[in-house]
Symmetry: C2
Subunit: 416 residues, 2 copies
Amino acid sequence: MALKQNAFYAQSGGVTSVINASACGLIETVNKSSKINKVLAGKNGILGALNEELIDTSKESKSTIAKLRQTPGGAFGSCRFKLQDPVKQKKEYERLFEVFSAHDIGYFFYNGGGDSQDTTFKVSEMAKKLKFPLQCIGIPKTVDNDLPFTDCSPGFGSVAKYVATSTLEAGLDVKSMAETSTKVFILEVMGRNAGWIAAASCLAGNEFEDPPHIILLPEIPFEKAKFLKTVKEKTQRFGYCVVVASEGVKYKTGKFLADSGSVDAFGHKQLGGVAPVLASMVTKIGLKNHWAVADYLQRSARHIASKTDLDQAYAVGKYAVQLALSGKTGVMPTIRRVSDQPYKWTVSEASLKNIANVEKKLPAAFISNDGFRITNAGRRYLRPLIQGEASIKYLKGIPDIARLKGILVQKKLSTF
Amino acid sequence: MALKQNAFYAQSGGVTSVINASACGLIETVNKSSKINKVLAGKNGILGALNEELIDTSKESKSTIAKLRQTPGGAFGSCRFKLQDPVKQKKEYERLFEVFSAHDIGYFFYNGGGDSQDTTFKVSEMAKKLKFPLQCIGIPKTVDNDLPFTDCSPGFGSVAKYVATSTLEAGLDVKSMAETSTKVFILEVMGRNAGWIAAASCLAGNEFEDPPHIILLPEIPFEKAKFLKTVKEKTQRFGYCVVVASEGVKYKTGKFLADSGSVDAFGHKQLGGVAPVLASMVTKIGLKNHWAVADYLQRSARHIASKTDLDQAYAVGKYAVQLALSGKTGVMPTIRRVSDQPYKWTVSEASLKNIANVEKKLPAAFISNDGFRITNAGRRYLRPLIQGEASIKYLKGIPDIARLKGILVQKKLSTF
């Protein structure tokens, strides 16, 4: 074992507008530390380790690494890839340790959501079992905000700010058109099982009459008649109606409104298109409508990121290194809320053992009795997360993003 | 006739993220002038005149008027309403002049696109015919950029910046996911007959491999086989493919891919949903994809407006007043490009007679031979329009918008 070990870092699952800020926090902290040699980033997540495709971050300039803070997406490539069950099939794990050993990797940092934390936990358990000296730290990331034990998940605050801002802006648009044209506007946002993103749209308005007028959450079974009755009522009352719908809205039977029939690598149903389904219902009751599907725009919109979220994303990357350096493994940095007003937070930690594959849904106390609005308790929770603007530099009118060299370290092993 | 006449101002057609900046330019210029009494804004466009619903802008504070610069949508309400043919049916015109007379209105400012300029022209002709002392000035506005005689239309530059930025951001997202998940991303943008908005997405990239890889324009008949072949090629070559499609993409037969069957007040077909149509084609050739429909988000996104566009929107509002004060009628301020590099522009004017109902499409010289890309000439035209950021103030994490009192002047006439 070399005196100073390298760190492996990879990005996993759906990316966010600030996951690269976590990468930046991690790399800058490693580079300042005297105990870790350098960061080797997996090209396309854990696949980079399996395929021995390791990006040498020491070949990137300081300014490129700093620019990761204002670059959305996953700069090193992400993946949706589930490692096989280590009890049934050890081959993938053996390969990982073979690669880590060949490249003097003593630290494993995996930046992702629930599924990715599960991967990190499995790797840490296997390392212990095989007595392989590897400290495994998960770094939280998910726009869905569904990770337990952390007050919020880095990535969520920025999509929340995007959705609140877009709801406000599009709401003003439809309000101006409503007298003679569009009366109902439907915005579809992400959120398969947890309605956090749709809920955040409530921050668009401060007054009762402000959009959004109806929020559709996966937590609340969709009732068509009740929905259409409410659309009609709100339109009569306010002249227009803005609806924000989670992609994961489902009927009481569990059937998604937007079931497209296909599944991803983790077996999750792929969704999309709840907005046009709702729009066609609204058209049938005679109300002219428009609909938008934000899809990747919402989770990549670094230009409207939340400063709070960006700072937290950077902080968990930095803290992950500190945890590793203090000898921890099988843990993940978490965001701990110290107070609501003024909002104060700190970074803490949680064991990965209890995190894996648990989804934190929107608490019932955050949802109004009619199921269509967010309570004051919910607003109190959400509001701090979108505070502050994280302005970026522009070049020729568009965001000035990091363009990595992405130089791979020399392979030492045969192809997997 | 009172010594100092009032001005009528109204917003018409689809709104933009900077139409209120034109209102601001107009109102601030009137308020500084000693020749016009005050601005009465039509509530919901020309309907405000017909219904004698006139918002007294002198009741709004200076700071509220200033804040219009950072407020998207139509602050006074817009409309899609076509005045009847004055030859066949004079009733509406007679009502207009009755209202203008009752409220000492000597200036008519109408802020809109092609249809609205047609309305302004008809009102100016009728005023001449009836010898009613009314100076009619059109103020250009359209995200579609399809007005002739002006180098560009206020409203377009900001949607262009939104689309270029979103294409860049979502492009980074799909690039990170492509190895194991989404390979093709389709963004649907506005543009019924003219592909200016989709074309502007070309500014997202500077290198050949940068997104967007395919732009679908209404000017180029859609060929399914050629499209799918190109999607496949780009995906093989770059690992992923980003497609930006105009809502108005149509087959050689003229049939829109996204024909929803309904029409608006001007008889235009209402479109929406070309992205899911394209996505289902791409799914059938086995490429996993995601799609987004920006809809109202794109034209209301004041938070990412172009400074150039904002300045031009303000300038045409201001110049409209100057034209009126110099005794002009039946004209519209235009943007004249003085030079490309450095970009210099000035405000000029054009007669409304020749503007009405002419749509300026994307010139053939701006479209590559394969029909999927924008030429250097096109980029040279487009690039300056997205330059500069027009930052806004935020309040509690969301844009701080103008909230008008909207006090109506006392009615003097019976209901129309």
